[in-house]
């Protein structure tokens, strides 16, 4: 606010108190001539009554009055005025210094009788100016107080909406522990956790430049993109790409988001991680106590629309009991009273000193709290711990069926043939999931059906059409290589196809979905599946074990390039 507002109501109202009626009349006429609003009183008691009634801007006060002394009247008027600065000028014929000093102590100024009208007017004008300034100040103070009150109230409402969006999802799952400490009401960090239709847990930690509202604003579209795309079955790559594009579009140049995203597949015990600008995060191996660092190898999100996701995503094998630790730089940069930072070495010391892994999360928090002591945390301290568990322990809440009125796709068949230009750039799984979600009564099983179809589809695409060898995936280094290889082969693809054939019929008692997926590849020796050991060792990469556990039947035909799976459900 650049302009100083004049809160003073003009013209000024003056209260003239004098027991001498001729003096009072003289003063009254003088001020009326100078456009003041004038009220007058002849005694101390009258003065107080008139003050309460008229609330003047300034008071001229006779010092010697018969009922109450001028000093006492002044003290009472000041008390009545409270915070409001209402100047009091004494009119006095007293000459002794003590009385005059008292006039300035109790009131604001004095004028010795007989007084000059010019001096009187100058004094009154100067005091009125002071009152104007003081009024302006008080009004501005009140305005700021009100403004701040409104702001806090608005922030509080916004924060509740924000929390529902930005810190929602499945952060409350049993195998997740998290800590978020807001520096201001809003936090520059965003923490998301959701479950894909295939049952994978996907977690996201983002750290926007700066703090507070401007940092929080970017997390709203981010969170919505994340949850919406995850629910619809989009791949990690597509989700990251979309979030990045959104942030590039909406954020100013100097605002960006350091991000870490991880997808945990509890079925095949794989962890895919992507770190774009956050400090090294960690996998803590429970059996060997090894600390595996997950370093950033990508520029943060919201800077460049082109992403290099496939070359920078990393895949790790994990075992139940292993833990993933994700943090923003708030922990590293937490300062103690001497200005030292907590730093990575102290953080690694906490890991080295840990004896019971289930206490590690609390130990990290305690170490940071202990280190910073009384000094308030400078950044947003965010910490996330995910414990790897067996797939069957990671349960999803069964959402109420979206389409429970029984309307929709009840009896149907579809055939989708995907040719090279589509295979190169389009993931058909979200589209298929969308269709399956419109099949009444099948929604509760949507995730399982989706898993079967997505496993079969990736087998057909990767091993059939692209001819990739799943044996490469046996080591974690190989896994990363495998996906880079997959990307390179896809980019060059010029022939081949995948046909997805779905045939469904069902009613409220039960139904079945026949899934046939055929590809242009040379197939594989599916006869060996009959031998349990061989199937375990050699075909683990094809996810056949998983498909079998979820569907009622799985068999292959032709050279192994055509898979038949049946999903049957009944109530």
């Amino acid at each position: 606010m650049g302009k100083v507002l004049n809160y003073f109501p003009s013209p000024a109202k003056i209260l003239i108190v004098d027991s001498n009626s001729s003096e009072r009349c003289l003063l009254k006429r003088f001020f009326l001539e100078h456009s003041y609003i004038v009220v007058d009183a002849a005694s101390g008691r009258d003065a107080l009554t008139s003050f309460k009634k008229h609330r003047p801007d300034i008071v001229l006060l006779d010092l010697l009055m018969s009922d109450i002394s001028g000093f006492d009247v002044a003290v009472r008027i000041k008390a009545l005025a409270g915070d409001d600065f209402i100047p009091i000028v004494f009119l006095t014929s007293l000459q002794d210094e003590r009385s005059l000093v008292r006039c300035v102590e109790v009131g604001d100024d004095f004028l010795a009788k007989p007084y000059s009208q010019i001096v009187l007017q100058a004094k009154i004008n100067s005091l009125i100016n002071m009152r104007n300034m003081q009024l302006t100040l008080i009004n501005q103070r009140d305005e700021i107080t009100n403004y701040n009150h409104d702001l806090l109230q608005q922030q509080d409402v916004a924060k509740r909406v924000f929390d529902r969006i930005a810190h929602a999802g499945v952060l409350g799952a049993d195998n997740i522990k998290y800590h978020l400490s807001p520096l201001s009401i809003f936090n520059g960090d965003v923490m998301l956790a959701g479950v894909s239709p295939t049952g994978n847990l996907v977690v996201f930690l983002g750290d926007f430049t700066g703090h507070g509202l401007h940092a929080a604003i970017g997390s709203m579209p981010l969170a919505q993109t994340f949850y919406t795309m995850l629910k619809k079955g989009f791949s990690l790559r597509e989700i990251v790409r979309e979030i990045n594009i959104t942030l590039c579009e909406i954020l100013p140049v100097d605002l960006f988001c350091c991000a870490f995203i991880a997808e945990i597949n509890f079925n095949n015990c794989h962890l895919r991680v992507w770190n774009a600008g956050l400090p090294d995060c960690v996998i803590y191996r429970s059996s060997t106590r090894e600390v595996v660092k997950l370093a950033s190898n990508h520029i943060p999100m919201g800077i460049n629309e082109t992403l290099n996701f496939d070359a920078t995503v990393r895949v790790y094998e994990i075992e139940p009991g292993d833990r993933l630790y994700v943090w923003s730089d708030g922990i590293h940069e937490a300062q103690n009273s001497r200005g030292d930072m907590f730093g990575e070495d102290r953080l690694m010391d906490v890991f080295a000193c840990n004896s019971r892994v289930e206490n590690l999360f609390e130990e990290i928090n305690t170490a940071v709290d202990h280190f910073i002591g009384d000094s308030a945390a400078e950044d947003d301290v965010s910490l996330l711990e995910i414990t790897m568990i067996k797939a069957d322990l990671f349960k999803l809440d069964k959402r109420a069926a979206l389409n429970s009125d029984g309307l929709g796709l009840k009896d149907w068949r579809m055939r989708l043939e995907l040719r090279p230009e589509t295979l190169k750039s389009f993931d058909p799984l979200p589209l298929l999931l969308h269709i399956l979600m419109n099949v009444p009564h099948l929604q509760p099983y949507g995730g399982q059906v989706y898993t079967v179809i997505s496993e079969l589809y990736s087998n057909s695409l990767e091993h059939g059409v692209l001819g990739l060898d799943s044996a490469v995936k046996l080591s974690s280094v190989g896994f990363t290589e495998y996906y880079q290889h997959r990307e390179a082969s896809l980019a060059k693809l010029s022939k081949g196809y995948v046909i997805i054939d779905l045939d469904y019929s069902g009613n409220e008692e039960g139904g079945d979905l026949k899934i046939i997926i055929e590809d242009s590849g040379v197939g594989f020796d599916y006869q060996q599946m009959l031998c349990e050991d061989a199937f375990k060792n050699q075909f683990s990469g094809r996810g056949i074990h998983l498909i079998r556990s979820l569907s009622q039947s799985l068999h292959y035909a032709g050279s192994g390039n055509k898979a038949y799976a049946t999903f049957v459900w009944s109530d």
Partner: protein, 101 residues
């Protein structure tokens, strides 16, 4: 925190030297030294020899300069970084956006 700028005598590059903590408090000042300055060589050099620390808003300011200097075509180098500063730039993989010496 102080920001000074000079033109390099031989190359004509604008050299911006930052001392102390490079953080949000220098936002206006930092913009002030390169905006409305005609840099004939089109090249900008950020000298962090006396800069002990930079935060994410400083990274944001560097991105603003990069954008001002032509985005992907910009010629912005960051020189004389100490190890802490270098680490912060590395974590964000800023070597893909700036020449870091």
């Amino acid at each position: 925190m102080a920001i000074t700028s000079t033109f390099s005598a031989d190359s004509g590059d604008l050299v911006i030297a930052i001392s102390g903590r490079f953080d949000f408090s220098s936002h206006q000042e930092f913009r002030g030294v390169y905006e409305n300055v005609d840099v004939k060589s089109g090249a900008y050099v950020i000298d962090l020899a006396n800069s002990s620390y930079l935060d994410s808003s400083a990274l944001g300011m560097l991105l603003m300069l990069r954008d001002y200097a032509g985005g992907d075509e910009a010629n912005v180098s960051i020189i004389n970084c100490n190890n802490d500063v270098k680490k912060i730039l590395n974590v964000s993989n800023f070597e893909q956006l700036f020449t870091i010496k």
